[in-house]
Amino acid sequence: MEPTQQITTGTRLDPWIDAYAARTQGLTTSQVRALFAVASRPEVVSLAGGMPFVSALPLDALADTVARLIRDRGAVALQYGSGQGDVTLREQILDVMEPVGIRAHPDDIVITAGSQMALDLVVRVFCDPGDVVLVEAPTYITALSVFSSYQCEVVHVPMDDQGMRPEALREAIASVKASGKRAKLVYTIPSFHNPAGVTQGPARRAEVLEVVRSSGLLMLEDDPYGLLGFDDSVPRAIRADESEGVVYLGTFSKTIAAGLRVGWAVAPHGVREKLVLANETATLCPSNFAQLTISEYLATQPWFDQVKVFRDVYRERRDALLESLSSLMPAGTTWTVPGGGFYSWVTLPHGLDATAMLPRAVAAMVAYVPGTGFYADGQGRHNLRLSYCYPEPDRIREGVRRLAGVIKDELEIADIFGSPEAVAGREGPAAPEPNLA
């Protein structure tokens, strides 16, 4: 076959393909994301998304709050604001953090567009390409995305049913230092972990903190679920016992409304100054409208009673999930029992691959997030995350029934062909869209 004499120029359908920064490597469409598109259909029981059940909010009262805000303070709410965030809301956040034991000054707080933005800012001001961040194994998907976007190297630290293991953390830090690499942050979700569902007890927190202190690293404590414990107790934040070595991330996404995108960081003085400047660079200022809506809500509504309503809602759903798992799952399947928060972490029977199984699950009208998304290093093939926060209990039971059938079918396939290994064209971790994170 002779090539044609006609000169043809190829196209990549993206004229900027050679201009993208190196940190965009890996930002590709994936089969997993394609399957999540189906999960958004109502026929599918989605145990994938971490969406708060905002329908439980007093929506009429919120409507009144917003209307009053625009009517009485519209010229402020619709204007630019401070790069550090509204001072009244920062004072109110002190009250919100009182149950987790944090004592601070309003000046210690930087309000951000969700705690995700605070996480981004902390990594932005601390990490150069190649710096190491130590995280739990597994950890929050979109934290991994942030670390990746700043070209950090992620080192996973094994967990047990009490969360991050201190001795493993100590060894990991030593190993990083011995390798000549520069560790910068220890990122942890100590309460009602996403995705593992476990919680560090007081003794474990003290041990982990001691390891971090002795290493000279900064701890990044992410605490979106701390108020959502099902036995009505609130774990004491690590930041409550260490103000200089910990940056604490909080959010109203799980206790009020994720759609308002209001979170915050509590940081030592020097760090806070840089976070404010970085916040101004990134967004000029967090949304005044969203901040003042939250502020009005906190001032006029029994917000902690609403937190108790959320606890009751999520406890009932957690129970529905656990009861269904106990009665329906094939032998060899195990899962964590969360004491709060949104998630249970499931380990499949030997030989099953949660990513490979996802198409079969979506065809059976049930969705989950495969475990590989929660690791930076390809672990997690045998795991998946189930979220119980959004579907009603009956839908959760139906979803688990469908999932159990899928696992049984997959066991049959594995019995025929053995445990699947990576093949050409198989993808690595893939992050779902925000409503699934």
């Binding site: 006609q6 993206d14 049959e412 062909f417 290994e421």
Partner: protein
Amino acid sequence: MSSNIEGHVIVLAGGLSPERDVSLRSGRRVADALRVAGVEAEVRDVDASLLTALVDHRPACVIPLLHGATGEDGAIRDVIGALGIPYVGSGPSACRASFDKPVASALVGAAGVSVPPSVALPHATFRELGATAVLDAVVGRLGLPLMVKPTRGGSSLGASVVRSAAALPSAMVAAFAYGDTALIERFISGTEVAVSVLDDGSGPRALPVVEIVPDGGFYDYGARYTAGATEFFVPARLSPEVLASCAEAAVSVHRVLGLSDWSRVDLIIDAAGIPWFLEVNVAPGMTETSTYPQAVGAAGLDLGALTAGLVAQAIARS
């Protein structure tokens, strides 16, 4: 711009297939192009309210751009036809034959187009006969490397290139995740091309051949739908004779399967310049990275005007 089409056009997109997202993107693009061409067009998902909506607000025509089962296996076209609503594209029986890859390959092969040797096996066969024995027999007959994929479905979902016998079981598992039957075919090495076929009233003709060069060597889902991940050449860097062979093969596939209006035929051109049939799509992708719109542009045609013409043709046909 205005068209001569009276009434509105419904572009069906989405559905419950794993290709839902691709279909929605295809549907939005075609609807936008139609509106620019002066046709009132609306994208509509497929759900339990669809038929009532079609009856209550009867469209002038429907364009099924659902990818995957239901959309491409003829079922939705059967239903639309039962409502007496014109639609663009192939009829149900042609879709059924085209969507099932082994059936399509058999028909196309019988018509003289080269098709890779293959076997289609349900997983029950492996359970009954033992996976190792069956796979050994398959490798013994077809050799290596192999292409493994579900017999139904598109966008390379569940498809793998297998270069060693040891990797074959995993590829089977990946394919069976998307369906109960897997197609194992001899991997043909060569130039990958897509040939868009258009029949706008004067018989099917091939549009310029699009050559596909994915960065990773395999035109998988990411390579198909991530802008920049694949390089395309239009027309393909092939001799005029081979380009003509591609066009002839694609039109032959379109004819032998009884397709209508539009289709896309995927081929591999081997070192000798022979086009090998891989599969045919009765609802070709119309996304920003799909090959059909590229071929349309290379032919000097406008996607909106072309689609409006097919709408008018479908209405006249009914």
